[in-house]
């Protein structure tokens, strides 16, 4: 994804601010009852019924190795569209709180630093400098298609 002027949906995990391209986001829903699917990685919370469609849900906190937090009324599921093996799939991402949609220009985006980051670099598209805060722009597809998921797809 090229770093051009775009709209970002920003959300937070604890004190950290993140942004994801609005083009990937299908909708934002409140917490639903999640059916756990045993024998999947811990950050895969299970599946939900999104108006008759069954979609997997991933907890971004757990994915990023952060502590689990009780879900509350601010917890949201961001439904994003990802491409798995060439097929379009919907995926729910649990985040602490959805903030706002912001416009960001390419000048406001810094490339990811070389080191000193706790996250794996390929998730991070850049660092967005907003007026009052900084958001980490992530590629949600990359997050989902990380090692563990690929392992999950391939392992027996």
């Amino acid at each position: 994804m090229a770093l051009i002027d775009q709209k970002l949906l920003t959300f937070s995990l604890g004190k950290e601010g993140y942004g994801v391209s609005i083009l990937k986001v299908k909708e934002i829903i409140g917490m639903l009852e999640i059916t756990p699917v045993p024998r999947t990685p811990e950050f895969i919370k299970g599946v939900i019924n999104l108006r008759g469609k069954i979609i997997p849900v991933m907890d971004l906190r757990l994915k990023f190795g952060m502590d689990q937090q009780e879900y509350n009324e601010r917890t949201c599921i961001i439904v994003v569209e990802v491409t798995i093996n060439g097929n379009q799939r919907l995926l729910g991402v649990v985040v602490d709180m959805v903030s706002e949609v912001v416009n960001i220009t390419s000048e406001q985006i810094e490339p990811p630093p070389e080191y000193g980051m706790s996250l794996e670099h390929n998730f991070i598209l850049g660092i967005g400098k907003l007026k009052d805060r900084v958001v980490i722009i992530i590629d949600i597809e990359e997050v989902f298609l990380c090692d563990e998921i690929i392992k999950m797809l391939e392992s027996v």
């Binding site: 059916t35 699917v37 024998r39 999947t40 599946v47 019924n49 108006r51 008759g52 798995i84 027996v156």
Partner: protein, 638 residues
């Protein structure tokens, strides 16, 4: 073919072109097989001619010169066939199939034209097409070429005169049915009239007042047998024919093409509607029991949604046509490859079934058909003659409805299953218990065991001993069953019985570790509360259960919950049955038994073998459907 190196395909229309081209190719593939059986069927020839003609036109539009050239050359060939200047033979059918294959490949892989060896194949085909067409270029009496085609005994051309000018050209496309009718009529006439006075006999007149041969887009020629003296042909007769033909064409317009995903979405939404409705219904029946008006309104509502659901399910129903078409094609290739004399017949291709099920049926059917042709049908024709059968073997593929299920039969009149050989093979391979005596029926079932193959040589048609067990697993997966009937020297019938609707299943909802799971009710044999003394422990774990005289092994809970052990107290055990084998699954509770709508497991969970699907329960919550077959496999011992 240097000019092919730089194809400049019009990307904008390419996708549309591919969709349309595939439709025509499907049409070609359906027809070509029947054409081989009835090489004189003008209607088929016309359909195929039109299909190639359209592909040619469209490919010109998207500027794909290779497809255009293949289609053009094939069209030319078909043109000779439809003019009757060339009789359809196996070579022509082969060439047609190759053309459609190549066009398909070019459509599927836009870069395939860069593949030198593929281009070489195409060039060979083009030459073949030209050679075949050249055989049709022998000059024929230009006036009335179709006459020779329709009347196959020599007659004086002079008495039959092409007379196109007398009639107004008809604007509408006419079906080629007309030509068939005429052909029949003339044949009838010929049959009744002695050869020497063919145009004298009075009853000829009754038949041969006017005969038109109407070709698809234009009137190529209107052939009229000269009437005797007073009877003048009435041009109005042609007009009278036209509306009937037009009606036939327009029947196509009663259909609308809808994308699969839209229908799936509709089915999903209606499923959702039903779930919501059941929530409201539950609420009403618990809180508003006194309100009769509300309750009766609600039940009216329930009726409508139920109707709506069955209607939406019916939208997903498709006929077996395209499946049969693909199978026929493979059958033909197999027959040719093996060089056997086999007639392949299908029936019931208009039987309707859920689209999802047809997809799953294709592979098993291909296996069965290949097996029937390669193993079922005798290698040696002499063996057939010895047993008093026709030289030409017959393999049938039949589909029909039976008590809410779809039955598909693959039938051959070959050598049948030799139970002695099967039994011996099964013993050699250590697949069965050597100390037991098996019944004939049981022995036939052995061929469905994994790793069983009686074929001495592994060939590329079938015979690696995979296959039959794959057929069985696939069919079981969609909730069906396989049955084998076979008589030595008479032939075999493989019957597949599958549910019409794969999407709905009767499920037993159970609770394990506080979570609900669904088990297909057909696998549930019994639910029991085991007494403590029924348990058999090994290495400190509950591993088996004694039920009456049977010792039944327990499905380890770690299959679902990795690394976890069974609780000290197991209140309930559900006995599962697959193929007469039993296993016990410890559960906490049985919740309900109901019809559930099965949804496939998403790709992200495809490695989770213990689930076969998911479903949304009446509460709106998702529940996992357990794959019972998997629980019976050895690998499930985690």
């Amino acid at each position: 073919m240097d000019n092919y190196q730089e194809l400049n395909i019009d990307q904008e229309f390419w996708a549309d072109f591919v969709v349309e081209a595939f439709e025509h190719i499907d049409e070609i593939e359906t027809n070509v097989i029947s054409l081989e059986q009835n090489p004189d069927d003008m209607e088929i020839i016309h359909t195929m001619f039109r299909a190639f003609h359209t592909i040619k036109g469209l490919s010109g539009f998207v500027e794909h010169s290779i497809i255009q050239e293949i289609a053009h050359k094939t069209e030319t060939l078909m043109d000779y066939c439809r003019k009757g200047e060339l009789a359809v033979n196996t070579k022509i059918v082969d060439a047609i199939l190759k053309s459609s294959d190549y066009i398909k490949r070019l459509c599927e892989d836009t870069d395939s034209y860069k593949d030198q060896s593929f281009v070489a194949q195409i060039e060979v085909l083009l030459v073949v097409l030209e050679q075949l067409a050249a055989m049709g270029e022998i000059p024929v009496a230009a006036e009335a070429p179709p006459v020779e085609k329709f009347i196959e005994i020599p007659i004086e051309i002079a008495t039959v005169k092409a007379d196109i000018q007398k009639f107004e050209p008809v604007e509408e496309k006419l079906t080629d049915k007309t030509a068939d009718v005429i052909e029949d009529v003339i044949e009838d006439v010929i049959a009744e009239v002695p050869e020497e006075d063919i145009f004298v006999k009075p009853n000829l007149q009754a038949f041969a007042d006017e005969i038109f041969v109407i070709k698809d887009e234009e009137i190529v020629s209107t052939v009229k047998i000269e009437p005797t003296e007073k009877e003048q042909p009435k041009p109005t007769a042609l007009v009278a024919e036209a509306p009937a033909a037009k009606k036939l064409m327009s029947s196509n317009e009663d259909y609308m093409k809808v994308a699969n995903h839209k229908i799936d979405h509709l089915v999903d939404m209606i499923g959702e509607l039903i779930i919501n409705q059941s929530l409201i219904d539950q609420y009403i029946s618990s809180k508003y029991t006194h309100d009769n008006q509300l309750i009766s309104n609600m039940s009216g509502f329930l009726r409508i949604t139920r109707e709506l659901q069955s209607l939406s399910m019916s939208l997903r129903m498709v006929s077996f046509k395209s499946t049969f078409q693909k199978v026929s094609r493979i059958a033909r290739d197999t027959i040719q490859e093996l060089g056997k004399d086999v007639e392949f017949v299908t029936s019931g291709d208009n039987t309707e079934i859920d689209r999802v099920v047809t997809d799953k049926l294709l592979d098993p059917l291909v296996h069965l058909i290949k097996n029937a042709i390669s193993h079922g049908v005798e290698e040696n024709v002499q063996d057939r003659i010895k047993t008093g059968k026709n030289k030409k073997a017959r393999v049938e593929l039949n589909a029909y409805n039976k008590r809410g299920k779809i039955v598909i039969e693959v039938k051959d009149d070959g050598r049948g299953i030799d139970t002695d050989i099967v039994h011996r093979k099964a013993l050699e391979k250590g697949l069965i218990d050597p100390n037991r005596t098996y019944s004939e029926e049981e022995i036939k079932e052995f061929i469905l065991l994994p790793g069983f193959s009686t074929a001495a040589v592994v060939d590329n048609i079938s015979g690696r001993g995979v296959g039959m067990d794959v057929v069985k697993t696939q069919i079981l997966k969609i909730g069906g069953k396989v049955d084998i009937k076979s008589t030595l020297t008479k032939g075999s019938v493989f019957t597949l019985e599958v549910p019409v609707n794969h999407a709905i299943m009767n499920g037993t909802i159970i609770e394990m570790r506080g979570q609900y799971f669904i088990i297909p009710t057909m696998n549930v044999k019994e639910i029991l509360q085991p007494r403590e003394d029924q348990w058999i422990f090994t290495q400190g774990k509950r591993t088996m259960l004694k039920v009456r005289e049977d010792i039944i092994s327990i499905v380890p809970i770690s299959v679902f919950f990795k690394g976890e052990k069974l609780e000290e107290h197991v209140p309930l055990v559900i006995l599962l049955e697959v193929d007469g084998e039993l296993k016990a699954l410890p559960i906490t509770n049985v919740i309900n038994r109901q019809e559930v709508v099965v949804k496939p497991v998403g790709e992200e969970f495809s490695n989770l073998k213990y689930i076969s699907g998911m479903s949304i329960l009446g509460t709106g919550k998702v529940s996992l459907i357990l794959d019972i077959d998997y629980l019976f496999k050895k690998e499930a011992k985690v």
